[in-house]
C-alpha cells in the first residue's frame, strides 16, 4: 500500500505520532473541495457536451487525449493531496535528554562548503534537517518543505513535490486543451449559440480561462524553482538571494531529481518490525588503548575519553573541585541515566560534530558540554569559575524547565547562552580559552576573538561566533543577576520586562527593556510553536531588538555568497530568519496559528531554580549598557530596518539600526544604543543578549529584520499581517 496519508485529517498510523490529534477545521477543506469540484465538474461537462461533436468532426483522438490528460491531472492531484509529504516523526524523549533550554537554538552544518543553520524545533524536539520546515497548519516538520498548499490541503514536501509539480503541469495543459477545443466548438457553432451545448461549452471555457492565469503563473514559478533547485520556502524567504544555493546540482540534475528520483519512504506510520536482539550481560569490551589508559589515570577516575576536549575534562575537574567550595544545589529532578557519564544526546553529538554555530544561542550555560554530568546542572556556579556571583544565577535561571516547552527561537536570547557558555567554557579550558572573560566587559574583547579562542579549544564551539561579544556582555551582566529575580520567565508578559525595566540598572545604562523587546516577527515555519508568548506585549515600550547580526539595509540584497563565513552566516541566518518569518512557509496559516503560539503562558519555573531563564537573560541585557559604556565602539546610525528584498513586501519597520558586522561586541553595543530607538525587541533581549542559545523553547526568534510582525493580536494594534497573494492564488502572510 503506498504511503498515503491524509494531510488534512490526522491520519496517524502507528509509530511515533507525527502530531497530536487535530481538530476538525472545516474551513480548510473549502479550497480543496472547490478545486476538486471545478476540475471534475468542468471536465465532465466538457466531455459530455463538447467532445461528442469533436470526436465526430475533428478526430476521435481528441476525447482520448483529453481523457488521458485529465486522468493524469486527477492522479497527480490525488497524490499531492493524500500523500504524506515527508513528515518527520516527533523525536523521542531520549533524543532530547539534555534539557533543551541549555542547548543552542541553532546548529550549523556545512553543506558543500556553505554553512547552513539547523534550527531547533520545539514541537518536534529535534534540530530540523536542512530544508526541513515546520508547517503550522499541519503541525509537522516536513522534509524539503516547499509550502502548504490550500488547494490540496496538504503540505508539499519531499515526497509529493513531484506530484504537485506534475499536477500543475498537467492541469495547465488540460486547461489549455479544454479552452482550445471549446473555442473550436464555439467557433463552429456561432449560429447555434443558444443551444445548451454551446452554453455549457462557453461556461466551461470561462472557468478554464479564469483558472488558466493563476495556474499557469504558478506552473511557471515552479518550473523556475525546479530549474534552480529551490523550494518555494527558500525562494519566498530569500534564503539564497545573492548567495549560493548548496542544494543545487545544476539545472538538468535538478530537473531529473524532481522527476526521476526514487519515491522517498514514509517516516511515520511505518510498520515497525520487532527488533529482537537479546542484550544480556556480561558484555564484551574492547581492549583499551594506551592513550585511554593514560587518560583514565590522569582523570582521577573520571571517565574521560582522550578525544574529549580539554575543556570538558578540565571543566569536570573544576566541577569536582568547586564542589567542595559550595553547598550542593538540589538534585536535578530528572535523571534518566544516572549510570554513565552524560553521553551524547542528539544535540550534543551535533555539537561536537559540526562547525561552530555562528548564530545565536537561546541560552548557553557555561558547561554546555553534553558530557557534563548531572552535577554540573545542579552546580552551575562551579562552571564559571571566574565569574563571580553572576554566573550561578544565570545558570540557575537557565535550568528552568519551563523553557523546555517554550517556543524556541529567540535569536537574541540565544546569544546569551553563547556568552555564558563561552565564559564558562573558556574558564574551564584554561589555557585554551580566554582568561578573564570578564575582560570582555572592558570592552576590548571582540566577540569574535573570544569565540575564536573557544572555537579552537572546544569542539562544540557552537558558543562561538557572534555570541562571543555577548558572552562578554553576559559576563559583565553577571553582576546584575539579582534583577532577574523578578522575571518570571523568558516569555513572560510585559510585566516581567517591565519589572526588569523598572529596576535601575546598576551601571546606569539603558534599561533592559530596550534590549528585550519581544520579537514581533514570528517565524512562520514554526509560527505556532515558536512565537514568543511575549508577543502580546510587543508594545512600543520595547524597542525592537535587531539581532546583532542584522546587517545594514543593503546587506540583505548584497551578494551574500551564501553562508561563507560562520559569523556572517549567523548574521545572515538571522536575517533570513526574519525573512523566513515574513515569508511564512505555511502561507495560508491563519493568524490564529500565531495567537496559539503566543497564548500559552510560560510554565512555572521548576522549584529548584530560583529564576527563570528570562531574568537571567534580561539580566545580561542590563549589562549591556555597562558594556556599552565601557566600550568606545561607535554605533552605527539608526537606519531603517532593511526590508527583505523578497517578495514579501514587508513594510519597513520602525528604524532599527543594524549592528555592525564586526565583532559581536560591537554589535551588542549597537543594540543597547538602539534599544531606545526601536520598539521591537525580542524577548530576552535578542539584541543585546543575543547569544544565548540556550532557551530553545522560549520566544520566537527574533530575526533581525523583523519589524513587528505583529500578526499577534496582542502586539501592536494594526501592525498586523499583510496578506500577499502570490502566484496561483496562494496567500502569503507577511507580518508588517
Amino acid at each position: 500500500m503506498p504511503g498515503f496519508s491524509s494531510g488534512g485529517l490526522g491520519g496517524e498510523v502507528g509509530g511515533p505520532a507525527s502530531s497530536s490529534p487535530r481538530r476538525f477545521h472545516p474551513s480548510r477543506y473549502v479550497p480543496v473541495s472547490a478545486a476538486t469540484t471545478f476540475l471534475v465538474a468542468s471536465t465532465t461537462l466538457f466531455f459530455c457536451f463538447t467532445c461528442p461533436w469533436l470526436s465526430e468532426h475533428v478526430s476521435s483522438v481528441v476525447p482520448i487525449y483529453n481523457a488521458v490528460v485529465f486522468l493524469f491531472t486527477l492522479a497527480n492531484f490525488c497524490m499531492a493531496t493524500f500523500m504524506d509529504p515527508g513528515v518527520f516523526p516527533r523525536a523521542e524523549e531520549d533524543e532530547d535528554k539534555e534539557d533543551d533550554f541549555r542547548a543552542p537554538l541553532y546548529k550549523t552544518v556545512d553543506i558543500k562548503g556553505i554553512q547552513v543553520r539547523m534550527k531547533w524545533c520545539s514541537s518536534c524536539r529535534f534540530y530540523r534537517p536542512p530544508r526541513c520546515s515546520h508547517c503550522s497548519v499541519c503541525d509537522n516538520c516536513v522534509e524539503d518543505f516547499d509550502h502548504h498548499c490550500p488547494w490540496v490541503n496538504n503540505c508539499i514536501g519531499r515526497r509529493n513535490y513531484r506530484h504537485f509539480f506534475l499536477f500543475l503541469l498537467s492541469l495547465t495543459i488540460h486547461i489549455m486543451g479544454v479552452f482550445g477545443f471549446g473555442l473550436l466548438y464555439v467557433l463552429h457553432h456561432q449560429h447555434q449559440l443558444d443551444r445548451v451545448h454551446s452554453a455549457v461549452t462557453m461556461a466551461t471555457m470561462c472557468v478554464a480561462g479564469l483558472f488558466f492565469i493563476p495556474v499557469a503563473g504558478l506552473t511557471g514559478f515552479h518550473m523556475v524553482l525546479v530549474a534552480r533547485g529551490r523550494t518555494t520556502n527558500e525562494q519566498v524567504t530569500g534564503k539564497f538571494r545573492g548567495g549560493v544555493n548548496p542544494f543545487t546540482n545544476g539545472c538538468l540534475r535538478n530537473i531529473s531529481h524532481v522527476l526521476c528520483s526514487a519515491q522517498a519512504p514514509r517516516y511515520v506510520g511505518r510498520w515497525r518490525g520487532k527488533q529482537t536482539a537479546e542484550v544480556q550481560p556480561p558484555f564484551l569490551r574492547p581492549p583499551l588503548s594506551e592513550a585511554q589508559l593514560e587518560a583514565k589515570v590522569l582523570d582521577n577516575g573520571i571517565q574521560n575519553d582522550c578525544h574529549s576536549t580539554r575543556s570538558k575534562s578540565s571543566l569536570e575537574q573544576m566541577e569536582s573541585q568547586s564542589a567542595d567550595a559550595e553547598p550542593p544545589p538540589p538534585p536535578k529532578p530528572e535523571l534518566r541515566y544516572p549510570g554513565l557519564p552524560r553521553a551524547d544526546t542528539e544535540e550534543s553529538s551535533l555539537l561536537s560534530d559540526g562547525p561552530p554555530t555562528p548564530s545565536m544561542y537561546k541560552y548557553r550555560p557555561a558547561y554546555s558540554s553534553p558530557q557534563m554530568n548531572h552535577t554540573a546542572l545542579t552546580h552551575p556556579n562551579k562552571m564559571i569559575r571566574g565569574d563571580s556571583l553572576d554566573s550561578p544565577s544565570i545558570l540557575q535561571s537557565s535550568c528552568q524547565p519551563s523553557y523546555r516547552s517554550e517556543p524556541s527561537t529567540l535569536d537574541g536570547g540565544s546569544i546569551i547562552g553563547v556568552g555564558v557558555h563561552t565564559g564558562g567554557r573558556e574558564r574551564g579550558e584554561g589555557p585554551g580559552g580566554t582568561s578573564g572573560t570578564g575582560g570582555g566587559v572592558s570592552g576590548g574583547i571582540s566577540g569574535y576573538s573570544l569565540g575564536g579562542r573557544s572555537y579552537t579549544s572546544y569542539p562544540s564551539s557552537l558558543v562561538l561566533s557572534t555570541g562571543g561579544s555577548l558572552s562578554s556582555s553576559m559576563r559583565s551582566a553577571h553582576t546584575h543577576h539579582n534583577t532577574l529575580g523578578t522575571l518570571q520567565s523568558e516569555g513572560t508578559t510585559d510585566t516581567s520586562y517591565k519589572s526588569l525595566a523598572n529596576q535601575t540598572p546598576r551601571n546606569g545604562s539603558l534599561s533592559y527593556d530596550s534590549l528585550l523587546t519581544p520579537s514581533e516577527s514570528p517565524e512562520f515555519e514554526s509560527a505556532a510553536h515558536e512565537l514568543s508568548p511575549q508577543k502580546p506585549h510587543t508594545s512600543a515600550a520595547f524597542p525592537p531588538v535587531t539581532t546583532f547580526s542584522l546587517p545594514a539595509p543593503g546587506v540583505g540584497d548584497a551578494p551574500l555568497q551564501g553562508y561563507t563565513s560562520p559569523f556572517l552566516s549567523a548574521q545572515m541566518a538571522q536575517q533570513r530568519e526574519g525573512q523566513l518569518l515574513q515569508g511564512s512557509a505555511s502561507f495560508s496559516s491563519p493568524h490564529r496559528a500565531y495567537l496559539r503560539a503566543i497564548s500559552p503562558p510560560l510554565p512555572t519555573p521548576p522549584p529548584h531554580t530560583a529564576h527563570p531563564e528570562t531574568p537571567h537573560l534580561l539580566h545580561q541585557d542590563t549589562r549591556h549598557p555597562h558594556l556599552r559604556a565601557s566600550s568606545s565602539r561607535p554605533l552605527p546610525p539608526v537606519s531603517e530596518q532593511p526590508s527583505p528584498s523578497s517578495p514579501r513586501a514587508c513594510s519597513p519597520d520602525p528604524p532599527v539600526s543594524p549592528p555592525p558586522r564586526g565583532p559581536s561586541l560591537g554589535q551588542s553595543l549597537s543594540y543597547t544604543r538602539e534599544a531606545g530607538l526601536q520598539h521591537k525587541a525580542r524577548p530576552m533581549g535578542g539584541g543585546g543578549l543575543s547569544g544565548g542559545g540556550g532557551i530553545r523553547g522560549t520566544q520566537a526568534p527574533q530575526s533581525t529584520s523583523r519589524p513587528g510582525l505583529a500578526n499577534h493580536s496582542t502586539s501592536k494594534p494594526g501592525g498586523g499581517v499583510k496578506k500577499v497573494t502570490g502566484v496561483g492564488g496562494t496567500t502569503y502572510e507577511i507580518s508588517v
Binding site: P129, Q280, R285
Partner: protein, 159 residues
C-alpha cells in the same frame, strides 16, 4: 538448577539502557542520506572503532544505492505515471526494498556484534532518518544487581 534459572531471569530483566548515543547525519554532501562515520567518543569503551565505522559505512552505501537516480528509478517513475500511480498498490518501490534490506542488515549486526557488547542499533528510518540511535546498556556484570532501573524503550528484547 532452578536457582540458576532464576538468576538468569533476574539478569535478563535487569538490563536497562544506560544512555543513548546518536550518530548524526552527515550533510556535507547535500541532503542525500549519509551518516557520520566519526566514532562517538562515548562508545570508546564499549566497541571497537572499526566495527561501528564499518556498519555505518555499509549503511551509507545502502542508502546511496537506494537513492541512486538510475535507470530503475526512472522506469519506476514512468510506469507509475502510466498507471496513474496504481502500480504502487501492487509493487514495492526500489527504495522500500532497500529499506527492508537495511533493516535486515541492522538486525543482523545487532545480533552478531552489538548485542554481545551491550549495544543496540535502532533503524534510522524510525527516527526519520535523522540519527542512528545506539542504545548503550548498563554493564552490570554477571551477578544480579540492586539496580531498579526500568527496562528502557531502546529495544531490549526479552526472550
Amino acid at each position: 538448577m532452578s536457582t540458576e534459572f532464576h538468576n538468569l531471569q533476574e539478569l535478563r530483566h535487569s538490563v536497562s539502557v544506560a544512555t543513548k548515543v546518536f550518530i548524526q547525519r552527515d550533510y556535507s554532501q547535500g541532503t542525500t542520506c549519509r551518516f557520520q562515520t566519526k566514532f562517538p567518543s562515548e562508545l570508546d569503551s564499549r566497541i571497537e572503532r572499526t566495527l561501528l565505522e564499518d556498519t555505518v559505512k555499509t549503511l551509507n552505501s545502502y542508502y546511496a544505492e537506494a537513492e541512486k537516480m538510475g535507470g530503475q528509478s526512472y522506469m519506476e517513475g514512468c510506469l507509475a505515471c502510466a498507471t496513474a500511480y496504481l502500480i504502487f498498490l501492487c509493487m514495492e518501490t526500489r527504495y522500500e526494498k532497500m529499506l527492508k534490506k537495511i533493516s535486515g542488515y541492522i538486525q543482523e549486526q545487532n545480533e552478531k556484534i552489538y548485542a554481545p557488547r551491550g549495544l543496540l542499533l535502532t533503524d534510522p528510518i524510525e527516527r526519520g532518518m535523522r540519527v542512528i540511535e545506539v542504545s548503550v546498556f548498563e554493564d552490570r556484570g554477571s551477578s544480579g544487581s540492586s539496580h531498579s532501573s526500568s527496562v528502557s524503550s531502546g529495544g531490549i528484547s526479552q526472550r
